[in-house]
């Protein structure tokens, strides 16, 4: 609270994160995180998936948890992110992010009573027209009094970066804007200015070398071997098991009856007038798979790969973990539970079928780290290797860190390698957001904001110059 005199308002144009509540937006493939700078967790965590209902009157979009999990006929579940880890569908992405911000942070703009639509008609005709336009303007700019810090993946294209600032300035009317890479922010969240950030998310795994708060751009590595890959591997485990393990999402089941392990399920199933779409089913299946990943899947902790020596036999001898499907089918998983995540480290071990080709060797996490480190000066390597920051929800896979530590020590036996993995789940999942929250509330950060004036002067190209 460093206002000199509490009764004077801050000078307009002075963007102080402490006083003016800056909003930090951390969009991801699985969830979109948003919250006020200076807080320790994002208040708003919304799914990045959205529902689309095609009516005669055009497409209707549904956002938020509540809307996308109700089985409705013709409800298509989509995601605005492209396969390359860059936003593809900008229009919808903007809406999702706006939803994440307005639904839980700022609230819909209420406006004054003359504009809230309830008192229309009392005015003369001409007046109410004006009011309507005002109200429309008001609604279109949800962020008029909050500077916005957005995170971006390390490989974002210049075009995409300009798009970010356009959305913030033009559509949301933000007074100030800044763009920062997730890698740097995750490092900040762990209190590091330099390090290698390994971020295993839903759609992508990225390895980002950061030196003194700057990303070494050519060193940034990404691969599609991440949470969704593990989910697909889990599907393959189910499919290739004998007999095949049925994956029935919760919404299909009316009630289940306990059955013995391995016995076909005896559940009452629901019937739908209009069957839910495949994309909806897939999203709901993903919920079951998430539960499976949380409670059953384990990363072979090493040393060595799962396929080395008799490691596989040892893994089979480990106590099994039971799992019950929504329809009541249940089984104890023993050796199989090490399979889904092994592909992250060993491309040969990944299960394959027609839809899931063998992943490339250079996409495994150890190889990503190796390539990232190769792009760094030799004398900087020990510094970075002693600060390996682990983040992303998929790193919460059981024993992930043990394995990673073994792999890295094998690659770099001569340096002192240290993994920095936040202990609490929240910090691991939302590291980039937390870093953004810290950054945006720093006093010294104020000079970095790109103000509206600057944007209007220089156009969207300014983001390339200012946000490195």
């Amino acid at each position: 609270m460093n206002i000199p005199n509490p009764s004077t308002a801050p000078v307009p144009g002075e963007y102080a994160g402490d006083e003016v509540s800056a909003i930090v937006l951390d969009p991801g493939y699985w969830t979109t995180r948003a919250g006020f700078a200076g807080e320790d967790v994002p208040k708003s965590v919304c799914p990045s998936f959205y529902g689309q209902l095609d009516n005669d009157s055009g497409a209707q979009y549904l956002f938020g948890e509540n809307a996308i999990h109700t089985p409705t006929g013709n409800l298509e579940i989509k995601n605005p992110w492209g396969a390359d880890g860059i936003v593809e569908d900008w229009d919808t992405a903007t809406k999702i992010w706006e939803y994440a911000i307005t639904s839980r942070l700022t609230g819909a703009k209420a406006g004054d009573p003359a504009k809230n639509g309830l008192n229309d008609g009392t005015n003369a005709n001409g007046d109410s027209m004006d009011v309507d336009i005002d109200a429309l303007d008001n609604q279109e700019k949800p962020l008029e009094d909050s500077p916005l810090l957005v995170t971006e993946p390390g490989w974002n294209s210049a075009k995409a970066r300009e798009k970010y600032i356009e959305i913030a300035m033009e559509e949301w009317g933000a007074p100030a804007f800044y763009l920062q890479k997730t890698g740097v922010l995750a490092a900040f969240a762990s209190g590091k200015a330099s390090g290698i950030i390994i971020d295993v998310g839903a759609s992508h795994t990225s390895v980002t070398p950061v030196l003194d708060g700057m990303v070494l751009r050519k060193g940034v590595q990404k691969s599609p071997l991440a949470g969704n890959f593990v989910s697909n591997q889990t599907r393959l485990v189910f499919k290739q098991s004998q007999p095949e393990i049925p994956l029935t999402p919760h919404f299909m089941v009316k009630s289940k009856t306990p059955v013995d392990a391995g016995v076909p399920a005896q559940a009452m199933y629901k019937t739908f007038g209009v069957p839910p779409t495949d994309s909806f089913r897939r999203l709901e299946e993903e919920r079951v798979l998430t539960e499976f990943k949380e409670s059953v899947v384990e990363v072979w902790s090493g040393p060595g790969r799962l396929s080395n020596g008799n490691n596989e036999d040892i893994s089979k001898a480990m106590p099994g973990r039971p799992f019950e499907m929504p329809d009541g089918w249940n089984q104890v998983f023993q050796g199989e539970r090490f399979r889904p995540a092994e592909g992250l480290f060993d491309a040969n071990a990944a299960l394959q079928d027609a839809d899931n080709p063998r992943p490339k060797d250079e996409h495994t996490i150890p190889r990503l780290v190796q390539q990232a480190v190769q792009h760094v000066d030799t004398d900087q390597r020990p510094l970075l290797l002693s600060n390996i920051v682990i983040t992303g929800a998929s790193t919460l896979l059981y024993k992930f860190n043990d394995r990673l530590s073994h792999e890295i020590n094998q690659l770099y036996p001569s340096t002192k390698n240290r993994l920095v993995a936040p202990g609490t789940v929240v910090e691991r999942k939302y590291a980039a957001w937390i870093g953004g929250s810290i950054l945006a509330s720093l006093g010294s950060f104020h000079q970095l904001w790109i103000s509206r004036k600057e944007y209007e002067e220089h156009g969207p190209g300014i983001v390339e110059k200012r946000c490195r």
């Binding site: 208040k43 306990p258 106590p319």
Partner: protein, 636 residues
């Protein structure tokens, strides 16, 4: 010396339907003293609001003299043209909402030094919190102001630190996982639409519309004790199994409910059917079945101008009925002696309930009748229990009939509203047939699954809390629990047992590893018949491999995996938290409004007991210094 005294504290709990408020904390906490319907009426001047509908009354004499003077009267019952500022928990009309709060505040008539604790709906955003803070400090000049999350308040009321609060409101459901008194904001399901009390009313309406019932009737049916939500596995009465017993075991009920046909026709057998489970069953004549036409929609008859004929007919009918009743009383006495135990509601096919017809009353009032005539028409149309006149407080009959209601109607009836009897069939059990319970169950599952700490989840499943007036419908909570259990419970007979608990016949391994688990089952060949074969296989499999390796470590990772997630998968059990025993006044009325009780407890703690140490509220100097944004630092 605490900064505030018990009797100075104001608690306000705004809701979509009812706003609760109270000034002062009594020695033993009581339900809210002030209950206000959360609606206001637009005043003549734009932007101003009135708490009651203002009706313009023309006085004939004045009209004749051409006087411009108009008379206004407050109509405390009518809800025509009301604006409800809170919808689905969200504040949609701020000026109306502020007017409502001001009305509540004035109704409490507080002295100067009163801190205010406001129960905040989960869906309110931080920005809205700031707005509220500003309003309370600037408008009421309150010395201290606190915001308490509704879900958190509920957990305070129950005194549990970890719980999953399911708040069933009017049009929405909020599901909040709370661990160690901290709500998980990330995965919280807020304002799930189409699941609250209103959805149940609509569910009834969808089924009873064809029988001539309107929304208001369904709303009251829902609040009457005959409306019930049956657990998923209970069959409806009238279906094969149930109907076999019903008429046989209760000849009296059969006599009264066995009238041929259903819906309006049967409903017209006024006063003859059992009035409901709370009241004695009468047996009478079925003579006036020809009344069937339009009997439900008296309001439109009245509005249509045929009132006088209708009133005359009604009067006649009443006299007949009274006569019949005298005769009937004798019969009933005889029947009473022979009558076996009355059937529970869930076994009956048809039951009647008393309907308080506000629309009719509105229409009557709109007709500008003199007050005498109005009263006359009212008493003619009123089909409530005859003793109403004598009964000063008309407490008993109503508390029975409206046990589910908000209590608001009890006062409304006193103002001379019109009650009629309506009979309904098994539709009354179908309020939640549209998947309301399943949607709530899914929301609970989603909420708990999104709690990051996996090991907390099983505790959250074990401490479900259902509150909110939407859940008052009879059987709702039981049916919800049954729905959740049939869908999500991981059955204990499955393989889960091995990892969730160490089987009792294996001793707990000590940290040193010396106490390696020993199989105490029979020899490897023959598992005892009563042991689950999987249990046997798993335990022996573990130990078989433990032995050759000669070290207990392979087991230890398994155990630590359990630490990471104490149960592999949740839930292995689902339970409701028992309501606290030590609030006698609350025990009487139920804990549906437990958020208010929680707020009382919290107010006592933050304002009085800890003397402001916990920063549970913001003081006026704080506000002056830091402005409304600082409220986030003070919220509980």
């Amino acid at each position: 010396m605490p900064p505030f005294k018990d009797d100075q504290i104001i608690i306000i709990a705004p809701g979509s339907e009812t706003t609760l408020a109270q000034l002062g904390l009594p020695e033993s906490f009581t339900p809210a003293r002030l209950r206000v319907r959360s609606r206001m009426f637009a005043a003549e001047k734009e932007g101003e609001w009135e708490p009651y509908k203002i009706r313009r009354r023309q006085n004939k004499a004045e009209e004749a003299s051409g006087g411009d003077e108009r008379l206004y009267e407050e109509d405390r019952v009518s809800e025509e043209g009301a604006v409800w500022p809170i919808q689905e928990g969200r504040i949609v009309d701020w000026s109306c909402f502020f007017a409502l709060i001001t009305h509540v505040y004035n109704a409490l008539n507080p002295p100067f030094h009163t801190p205010i604790l406001l129960i905040a709906q989960p869906v309110w955003t931080p920005k809205e919190h700031e707005k509220l803070t500003q309003f309370f400090f600037e408008k009421f000049k309150t010395p201290a102001f606190g915001l308490l999350d509704a879900a958190l308040a509920t957990s305070w009321a129950y005194g549990v630190h970890t719980s999953t609060v399911v708040d069933v409101g009017k049009e929405k459901v909020d599901v909040t996982a709370i661990s160690e008194f901290i709500p998980h904001t990330q995965g919280r399901v807020m304002s799930l639409p189409g699941c609250g009390g209103e959805a149940l009313t609509q569910g009834l309406l969808a089924r009873l519309k064809s029988k001539g019932l309107n929304r208001e009737m369904c709303e009251q049916l829902k609040k009457s004790p005959i409306c019930e939500i049956l657990p998923p596995d209970v069959s409806l009465p009238g279906t094969k199994e149930a109907s076999e017993h019903a008429p046989i075991t209760n000849p009296a009920a059969a006599a009264s409910t066995g009238a041929p046909g259903s819906g309006p026709a049967a409903a017209s057998a006024i006063g003859t059917a059992p009035r409901g489970p709370g009241v004695d069953t009468e047996v009478g004549d079925d003579a006036n079945a020809e009344e069937a036409e339009g009997v439900l929609d008296v309001a439109s008859i009245v509005a249509g101008g045929k009132m006088n004929e209708y009133l005359a007919k009604k009067e006649k009918e009443k006299q007949e009925k009274a006569a019949a009743k005298k005769k009937g009383n004798a019969d009933a006495a005889a029947a009473n002696a022979a009558r076996p135990i009355r059937l529970p509601n869930s076994k009956r096919e048809k039951v009647t309930f008393l309907y308080v017809d506000h629309a009719l009353l509105d229409n009557l009032k709109n007709m500008n009748l003199g007050s005498e005539k109005l009263a006359e028409a009212q008493s003619t149309l009123d089909e409530g229990p005859q003793r109403k006149g004598e009964e000063g407080a008309d407490g008993e009959s109503h508390s029975a009939v409206e046990a589910n209601g908000t209590g608001e109607h009890g006062t409304a009836t006193r103002n001379g509203s019109i009650r009629r009897e309506i009979e309904v069939g098994t539709e009354r059990f179908m309020a939640a047939e549209d998947g309301v319970l399943e949607r709530i169950a899914d929301a609970v599952h989603r909420t708990i699954s999104s709690v990051d700490e996996v090991n907390k989840r099983s505790e959250l499943w074990d401490s479900l809390l259902v509150c909110g007036n939407g859940s008052k419908v009879r059987g709702f909570k039981e049916a919800l629990l049954a729905t959740i259990q049939t869908k999500y419970l991981i059955s204990p007979s499955s393989a889960t047992i091995f990892t969730s608990e160490i089987p009792s016949n294996i001793s707990t391994p000590a940290g040193t590893g010396t106490n390696t688990p020993q199989p105490q089952l029979g020899p490897h060949g023959g598992a005892p018949a009563h042991v689950n074969p999987l249990l046997y296989a798993a335990t022996t499999a573990q130990t078989q491999h433990l032995m050759p390796h000669g070290t207990p470590t392979p087991l230890m990772p398994g155990m630590s995996h359990n630490q990471h997630s104490s149960h592999g998968q949740t839930p292995t059990s689902i339970k409701y938290v028992k309501p606290p025993e030590y609030f006698p006044e609350w025990k009487e009325v139920g804990f549906d409004e437990s958020a208010f009780l929680g707020a009382q407890v919290a107010a006592k703690v933050i304002f009085v007991v800890d003397q402001g140490q916990s920063k549970g509220y913001m003081t006026r100097p704080d506000y002056n210094e830091q402005g409304p944004t600082a409220i986030h630092d003070y919220a509980l």
